[in-house]
Amino acid sequence: MIKLLFKSLLFFLLLLITLNLLSLIVMKITPLTSFFNIHKNAEWVYSAIDKSHATISNDTIIVGDSVAHQLIPPSSYNLIMTGAATLAGQYIVIHNVIKNSKTIKKVVFIYYPGSFKFGYDNKYTYNNFIKPFYCRENISLFDQSTQHKLHRHKYYYLYMLPMSKVLPIFSLIDCENSESKNFITSEDYDDVINYIRLIHQLCEERKIEFIVISPPVSMTHKEQFDFVKFKKIISANNLSGVFYNYFQSLEFKDDKYYKDSWHFKDEYELEMSAYFQAKFKHFLSHSN
């Protein structure tokens, strides 16, 4: 029995090493094949990360959440991800794109109100935030609060290992832990304030215009989201200027346009997209 236990332990150690070595190889060859499907459930996020590492020859970039995805057509300057990528993820993408593309003059940030409430262990957050962003090269870009919250998670050290980025079994975490609240963002929007401030500072340093706007919001969401509190927090943190356009342009639409009080129904997607682009034409305009 002792022999079996010892050999099993040795096997698991060797397996751990093998899995991580193989994961490093798979990560290298992933651009060549989609066979391993390591971008599963978060294709938009990986696409935005890839674009942020390349040079964009445009003066405007658009970032945002999945609702923004329905409103803006795909393009080289569209770096829209999802709400589950969290503001920390949005910040990293903006940081990288500004660092790599010197032509950027304007960052348009389209965010549905509810997306500001995304924590680090909500449903979809593992695949959209932890897996793509929680790696050694990004650690220095996280604020103290985020690092603290991530380190509170009992498996955080596992998420740094290469195998956690590749093995499909890790993708299940989103589904299984959707109800867990180990390190969720608090209701007082600490992280939102921190990252909006960081993005704002980054843009100011490079003389880049930072515009935050909202997609049309459903009536149901209007009831669910505490706009008064959110506005108060923004104001208390001296970010009213950054959110000026957000609150000015905020408008509410009938629930008939929405499938889940956030996203538009397929049949209204084109109509809403055209409407939104016309409404914010002055912000979304760009020159190549």
Partner: protein
């Protein structure tokens, strides 16, 4: 009860889940540290916990009821001195088992079909009358949501146990606990193998001696089964399901490829499960029946059934075919033909209340019966044409032919309804070489996707289907090769496995 135990209890434990690995580890440790006289109890409690993880309390009640009834009827059959009394007891025992199975699995199907017939008759009769005077009643539909997982397997065990006692080929088990464990032993509870009392019961009574090689072999069986299920079967399912679930979007060529893929999928799914069951049981020094022996290398349909779901085919051979054939022995060739058709009809019905399974069973019955009828003509013809039936070429042709016959029958088994199956069969004949055929070869999706994108998996599946049992010879090699193989096996399962919520196909039977 500590929270972690509750957590373990409430998880549905599929063999390919972490909760099952944890469960087996705990049971193994408890078994290892228990006294010999107490070990059956550890396994019985574990089996009950395993079954109750399905969260269907009625299943536990039914299992215990069937166990109790079969146990006592077995004893009474043995104690009865009159042959007539033995016969009545056997009939009552079989009836109790069969009625339980029918009421759980087939009542919804039966009432649904009776209602269709009533409605058809009613509309016909009423159309003949100017002023309708007759009143027709339809049966209340039975809830189809009743779970019957595992029932078919242990009921077949109970029936074979009673018949064996009646035939006096087995002695009844006097220890209720051992008998209850024979019925409920968790590795084989949900999907078999269907074990005979004479094979399994003595193993529960043997003192347990830890055997390193056995434990290692058990782990290898388990890992191999997991690989077959998660890497091969579940990946093939990704090719099969979109075709079979959207038949109107696909053509004959795609149906052929999807059907071949399904033939491999069901084999790897089921044999993967069996390997995991065998592996788990080996940890407790218990040997379960090997259910598969490279079935797609069969050279006849009869040979296929000697290699496919072996515990089940032995069961239907011993307890259905042989008795029916005996009772029809004076009918000669036709008696054997009827016996084959009846046997395979029951085989189809056993798989579930669905016309597709019935047609699948009848097709196999037809294959076997026609082979039996035409065998003398075949022999004469081959002798006259001087065909060497032992040549490799001839055997390869036979394997190919049988694989196609079996795959054709799988269409009815897999299709979502009998009308879907009819559509698929028609499409294969009428829409195979249309313009889409060329199109699908030229453009990758969805036709070529099946061939190119997953070619590796398909090739691996075919190779493994051929050389499956050779895998276990790895244990004879040096440590370096063995460990390299183990690492490759587990790593590839973790890298290439499908981790969505995919169920075992044979769980539902």
């Amino acid at each position: 009860m500590p929270p972690r135990i509750i957590l373990l209890w409430t998880f549905a434990m599929a063999f390919n889940s972490f909760s099952y690995l944890l469960f087996v580890t705990i049971v193994y440790l408890a078994y290892y540290f228990s006294k010999d006289s107490f070990r059956w109890f550890v396994l019985f409690v574990a089996s009950m916990a395993f079954y109750s993880a399905l969260r269907a309390p009625h299943l536990i009640v039914i299992l215990l009821t069937i166990t109790t009834i079969s146990y006592f009827i077995g004893l009474w059959i043995d104690q009865s001195t009159s042959l007539k009394a033995k016969k009545y007891l056997l009939i009552s025992g079989i009836s109790a088992n069969a009625l339980t199975l029918i009421s759980l699995k087939y009542l919804p199907f039966i009432t649904h079909n009776i209602n269709i017939m009533i409605r058809f008759t009613a509309s016909f009769v009423l159309s003949l009358q100017d002023k309708p005077k007759m009143v027709f009643f339809v049966l209340t539909p039975v809830n189809t949501a009743i779970v019957s997982i595992g029932v078919s397997y242990y009921i077949f065990q109970a029936i074979s146990y009673l018949i064996d006692i009646y035939w006096e080929t087995e002695k009844p088990e006097r220890h209720f606990g051992h008998f209850a464990l024979y019925m409920s032993f968790f590795p084989k509870l949900l999907q078999g193998p269907i074990e005979r009392a004479g094979d399994l019961l003595p193993q529960f009574k043997r003192p347990y001696i830890f055997d390193y090689d056995n434990a290692r072999s058990g782990m290898l069986f388990f890992a191999w089964g997991l690989f077959k299920k998660m890497v091969i079967a579940d990946r093939l399912a990704l090719l099969v399901d979109p075709v079979y679930n959207n038949i109107h979007d696909h053509n004959g060529f795609q149906f052929i490829i999807a059907t071949y893929c399904y033939a491999l999928q069901i084999y790897f799914d089921f044999s993967g499960y069996t390997d995991m069951a065998i592996g788990t049981a080996k940890l407790f020094n218990i040997n379960l029946t090997q259910n598969f022996n490279r079935p797609y290398l069969a050279t006849s349909v009869a040979d296929f059934w000697r290699r496919w779901h072996i515990s089940f085919s032995r069961w239907i051979l011993d307890y259905i075919f042989k008795p029916v054939q005996m009772s029809l022995r004076y009918w000669g060739q036709w008696g054997a033909t009827i016996a084959l058709m009846v046997t395979f009809l029951i085989s189809g019905i056993w798989h579930g209340a669905n016309w597709g399974f019935i047609v699948w069973g009848l097709l196999h019955g037809f294959y076997m019966a026609s082979a039996a009828i035409f065998r003398p003509f075949h022999k004469k013809l081959f002798n006259r044409l001087n065909i060497n039936t032992k040549s490799t070429f001839y055997r390869t042709l036979q394997v190919f032919f049988v694989f196609n016959l079996v795959s054709f029958a799988w269409i009815f088994f897999r299709a979502n309804s009998i009308s879907d199956a009819a559509y698929i069969v028609t499409s294969i004949q009428t829409h195979l070489f249309n313009s889409d055929f060329i199109h699908n070869f030229m453009y990758p999706y969805p036709g070529l996707e099946i061939i190119s994108g997953n070619a590796l998996i398909l090739v691996a599946a075919l190779l493994l289907a051929t050389f499956n049992s050779q895998i276990f010879t790895v244990q004879k090699y040096s440590s370096f090769y063995r460990w390299s193989f183990y690492l490759a096996l587990v790593s590839s399962t973790l890298f290439l496995g499908v981790y969505d919520d995919v169920k075992f196909i044979y769980n539902r039977f």
